[in-house]
Symmetry: C2
Subunit: 107 residues, 2 copies
């Protein structure tokens, strides 16, 4: 393998590792964050205590990620959620969504 080949292989490996780590959400970190910032309105385990706030427990992870990003970029408007979401990076959003999907079950 020549030097270009080695560099290409190394770059591919690094990209693969980065992708894997970017995709592995951490539900425990999401739970800590949720309890500190979200539970006051959305309730323990994502079961909301007020009819105006949606339940989030058991909700689809992919949908939750999309909505938090939409609040963050302003494409979904909400005066409470926009500033909350603007404080979150992609990893925190992924962690929250992974925690919430598993936090409660719909039957």
């Amino acid at each position: 393998m020549n030097q270009t080949g080695i560099l290409t292989t190394a770059a591919c490996l690094a990209a693969a590792l980065f992708t894997a780590s970017a995709q592995a959400a951490d539900p425990a970190a999401g739970k800590t964050q949720y309890e500190a910032t979200c539970a006051a309105c959305h309730g323990a385990n994502g079961i909301s205590v007020a009819p105006v706030y949606p339940n989030l427990g058991g909700q689809k992870e992919e949908y939750l990620v999309a909505q938090l990003k939409a609040f963050r970029d302003g494409s979904r408007k909400n005066d409470i959620m926009q500033p909350q979401a603007q404080g979150l990076n992609n990893t925190q959003i992924a962690n929250l969504a992974a925690y919430l999907e598993a936090a409660a079950k719909l039957r």
Copy 2:
């Protein structure tokens, strides 16, 4: 009671009756509508079968009403939901929300 008094009393009674009937949602009608128009994406009993579509079963009735109205008036943007919601009147929205809140339970 003079004629104005009688008319005022009658108008108040009519308003009270109208308010009562406007508030009594019909979950059975909501279920029929849901199964015809919503279940293809949001699933039986509001448990969605695709990660991009939210679960709606067990969701807060008041929140569901607010979101359907927001899709209808365009304040919440979604290319699929906007035309769907524009076909619904307030009674149909109330019926759908009443059905969905009771359709599944979060545990």
